[in-house]
Symmetry: C2
Subunit: 136 residues, 2 copies
DNA sequence: GGACATAGATACCTGGAGGTAACCATGCCA
DNA sequence: TGGCATGGTTACCTCCAGGTATCTATGTCC
């Protein structure tokens, strides 16, 4: 066996559990956070009402939307504003902090759009199952 | 209430469930995939033995490592090579496809390192609990 | 003989993410 | 009177990612 493979020094000493790279992943840990961040940023002033968001994110449920938004509020990513009107109206706005997280998101999304072919090339389990006997 | 907020057109029509941005998120859906991708890339030729990876990723368990690696193999991100030696030796190499996914990762990780302060500013539930009464 | 290292397989368990559906309060409108 | 829309909340359920522990096989070394 090749020596070159044998000896591999523990290069990433600082790849600890609380390093920045690992922590940024937490943003993507909850399914909808990044998408809400994006959806908000896509609006004027990073503000949008609940219903608008609900309709902007195909597939999200009312519950998951509010739940995620509340978590994001607790994290300091968005601020919530309630209008005492009736029927009730609520909107959410990106905080300055929340705004900062838009950049890495767009970085990622941008790459994804430019590299859709790579994503297509990925043999997802799903795709695997569906394709398996299809042409074999 | 401000009109500007009321009328918000469904701007992201193509923000469908299978759009590129959404699909790229799947890479981060499984906890270790991105980190393994990075760890492999950090080696010469994107190749590393199981044990090396195990030690490179603090916190990962043997099971999760193999499991994730096998999933990645099925997705076409890495290739597995077994040496008929004893004790057994196995190594994994980034495929060309796998290599392509390193870029967005590093994009993200790079941002994270440069913006550690933003990550610190995030009021994680964790941090919230630990800090709550600490200095208040 | 027994420990260690190699790379796994396998059984087992659990938390919680994420989803569904029903309910609430209210005013408008037909 | 009943339906609709507003933004939630709540109860409930399921699934599986992710983790633990134990077992395999084999050769070397003490």
């Amino acid at each position: 066996m090749p020596d070159s493979i044998m000896m591999a020094p523990p290069a990433d000493d600082e790849w600890r559990e609380d390093c920045a790279p690992r922590r940024v992943l937490e943003i993507f840990a909850s399914k909808w956070t990044s998408m809400i961040l994006h959806a908000l940023d896509a609006r004027h002033g990073g503000t949008a009402r609940t219903g608008v968001l609900l309709r902007s994110l195909p597939g999200i449920s009312k519950k998951m939307l509010t739940q995620t938004l509340r978590d994001m509020e607790a994290s300091g990513l968005v601020s919530r504003r309630v209008y005492g009107t009736v029927p009730p109206a609520v909107d959410y706005t990106l905080t300055p902090l929340g705004h900062r997280f838009v950049e890495p998101l767009e970085l990622l999304y941008g790459w994804a759009r430019r590299n859709a072919d790579a994503l297509d090339a990925l043999t997802t389990q799903r795709t695997l199952r569906e394709t398996s006997k299809t042409h074999g």
